[in-house]
């Protein structure tokens, strides 16, 4: 695919002091970030943190924004999406009963490039088939979109993005609502595209399955909490500020695992009580894993093990939406 017409030096995405929202509702405040060509970046945070809003701000789809957003060297303003950027929406937002076939959906990605009449030209069809074949859904072109599996559906919308020959690919929760096998396929596919030089930004709420495998993450909760390699960024402190919940980080053999601390402690507590009743010692199998988590070393009662009723009281404010 021809990339180069829009090539420019410097970062692909520059965000300087971005504050944005809908109506009177502020979703993101004072975000600074830059993403360079060929990066694969995950936006991580709880629901309502502003992950999708940040993607939409890059596309000029957030009605109110202050600060500066530049994509591929061009200033993004509300209502003016930057060229060279393709977007894959969350599958849940798609109307699956709409009468469209796979090829009809994919060709939408070329709506503004095809000739004025309704049917696609030979070149458009050739490009479409090449992309569908590459994504492994070449045989499904004439199927209705509802007849496909979750992974195939995700590929259809990825194909629609790719047929516009973008430099930057933005994906909203590409792995939510699909099974493990599909999730891995989608991630491998994105990894392949990234190796070919595509800059990719995706949102995800799956820390272990998705975010921990990405080379770079931005932790978001109403503002940018931290950014960097998940190996360095995912610390209990950052995760606490991002999610407003206690989490533990386990590092073993180069593997990174984030665990929700509360159920773990709750289970330990329950097990302890159970063992007590039976006159045994509770097993202490977790002791080695927690390195820098200070909360863990006290003995906990049940109330302490549960997350606080009002997380806002202790955690940074989780912005609406």
């Amino acid at each position: 695919m021809a990339r180069g017409a829009l090539a420019h030096d410097g970062p692909v995405i520059e965000i300087e002091g971005l504050t944005c929202g809908y109506g009177t509702e502020l979703v993101l405040q004072d975000v600074h970030a830059r993403i360079t060509a060929g990066q694969l970046v995950g936006l991580v945070g709880p629901s309502g943190a502003g992950k999708t809003t940040l993607l939409r701000a890059l596309l000029g789809q957030v009605p109110r924004m202050v600060g500066r957003v530049r994509v591929l060297g061009r200033e993004v303003r509300p209502g003016a999406p930057p060229p060279g950027v393709a977007y894959v929406p969350q599958l849940e937002t798609v109307d699956w009963n709409f009468p469209v076939t796979v090829e009809e959906v994919v060709l939408m990605g070329r709506a503004m490039r095809m000739r004025p009449w309704p049917w696609p030209g030979r070149e458009d069809r050739r490009l479409m088939h090449r992309i569908l074949d590459r994504l492994g859904i070449g045989s499904l072109a004439r199927r209705h979109i509802r007849e496909l599996s979750g992974g195939q559906q995700q590929r259809v919308f990825l194909a629609r993005a790719l047929i516009s020959e973008p430099h930057v690919l933005l994906l909203d929760e590409p792995t939510s609502g699909v099974d493990v096998k599909t999730r891995d396929e989608v991630l491998h596919l994105l990894g392949d595209l990234n190796r070919d030089g595509m800059t990719i930004v995706l949102t995800t709420h799956e820390l272990n399955a998705v975010a921990a495998h990405l080379p770079w993450v931005l932790c978001i909760n109403g503002s940018l909490i931290a950014q960097g390699d998940p190996d360095e960024v995912f610390t209990p402190e950052v995760l606490w500020r991002t999610y407003g919940a206690a989490m533990q980080v386990v590092r073993q053999d180069g593997l990174l695992l984030v665990a929700d601390a509360a159920p773990h402690r709750l289970r330990e507590q329950l097990r302890h009580r159970h063992a007590h009743r039976h006159g045994e010692e509770a097993p202490h199998e977790h002791e080695h894993a927690h390195g820098d988590d200070h909360h863990h070393h006290h003995r906990l009662d049940l109330a302490e093990a549960l997350p606080p009723l009002d997380p806002d009281a202790r955690a940074p404010r989780a912005a609406g939406r």
């Binding site: 596309l59 789809q61 209502g79 999406p81 060229p83 950027v85 393709a86 977007y87 929406p89 937002t93 798609v94 109307d95 709409f98 009468p99 469209v100 076939t101 009809e104 959906v105 060709l107 939408m108 990605g109 070329r110 709506a111 503004m112 095809m114 004025p116 009449w117 309704p118 492994g136 859904i137 045989s139 499904l140 004439r142 209705h144 007849e147 496909l148 599996s149 992974g151 195939q152 516009s164 891995d184 396929e185 491998h188 596919l189 990894g191 392949d192």
Partner: protein, 294 residues
């Protein structure tokens, strides 16, 4: 006595009515696909009632029907749009208030002057005798204009209808497309009023696309099928209205409902048949991710 099937064709008014029914059927069928998929059926229904008020006002003022009713319809559409943006009201309630009050205005004005009862009935239920050569020109012009619009904006219109949030990201000028669509919708309703009637217009907009949807999953086929069904049902309905001496709008709608039931039965049996079921459930295995092959 053998029924003379060609008998009605001897009359000018019937030929006019037939051409009008075919054009209006195709026009409503074409626009109906987008109206139904954009979940605007209720707006179409409401707009036709609003236009009725404009029709009566322009009649009383001696304005040209199409200009008066068309302007009225366009203004109502803008008003509905503005009212629907206020979150506290909600678009369905906004449509209800604006269109029924406009309709009531028409009824109030008509009830003052006794002379309009005939026109009143025609406007409500459609009238085969009401179609003049001038009407035909207007209907034909609107049909051609809408067809040209849909032809050249086909891809953009499809994208903006399927995925209104994402279409602008791919450069589709969705505001312009939406505005042109509203204009086409108002023109369609004003042009169709005399033939089908205010109260039944919604059915001619909804029945053909829903029927075509039952028969195909492909957008281009649903669009062509709906237009063809609309035209066919219009012509056949007109013909039946002559032979059974019933209001043209009513016969077109009743015939449309019958065709819809047929399509529903057909698609239900087709979907339940075993090969079709197997086709729907069998999915080709997706190839393993490249990494897994290493």
């Amino acid at each position: 006595m053998p029924l003379d099937v060609l008998e009605p064709f001897h009359y000018d008014f019937f030929r006019h009515g037939l051409i009008a029914a075919a054009l209006v059927g195709a026009l409503c069928g074409l626009m109906g696909v987008y109206i139904v998929l954009r979940r605007m059926s209720y707006i179409g229904h409401g707009l036709s009632h609003a236009v009725f008020g404009g029709a009566v006002v322009s009649h009383l003022m001696g304005w040209n029907f199409y200009i008066g009713a068309g302007l009225w319809g366009f203004l109502s559409a803008l008003l509905i749009d503005a009212a629907a943006r206020r979150r506290r009201i909600g678009s369905d309630a906004a449509i209800g208030i604006i269109t029924t009050s406009s309709f009531a205005l028409g009824v109030a004005l008509i009830s003052r002057g006794r002379g309009f009862t005939r026109n009143f009935e025609a406007a409500l239920f459609g009238n085969i005798l009401g179609v003049t050569a001038a009407d035909l020109w207007v209907i034909g012009t609107v049909a051609v204009a809408v067809a040209v619009f849909v032809f050249f904006a086909y891809k953009q219109l499809l994208f903006a209808t399927f995925d209104p949030e994402v279409a602008p990201v791919y450069g589709v000028p969705s505001r312009l497309i939406d505005a042109l669509f509203s204009l086409a919708l108002a023109a369609t309703i004003v042009a169709s009023m005399n033939v089908v009637g205010v109260t039944l217009i919604a059915a001619t907009i909804v029945i053909p696309p829903v029927t075509a949807r039952l028969l195909s999953d492909r957008f281009s086929r649903v669009l062509l099928g709906s237009s063809a069904l609309g035209a066919g049902i219009g012509v056949a309905g007109m013909y039946l209205s002559y032979h059974f001496n019933i209001a043209s709008g009513a016969s077109i709608v009743l015939l449309g409902a019958a065709v819809f039931m047929l399509a529903l039965t057909y698609s239900a049996t087709r979907r339940r048949s075993l090969p079709a079921l197997a086709m729907r459930t069998a999915r080709p295995a997706s190839p393993p991710a490249p990494e897994l092959l290493d």
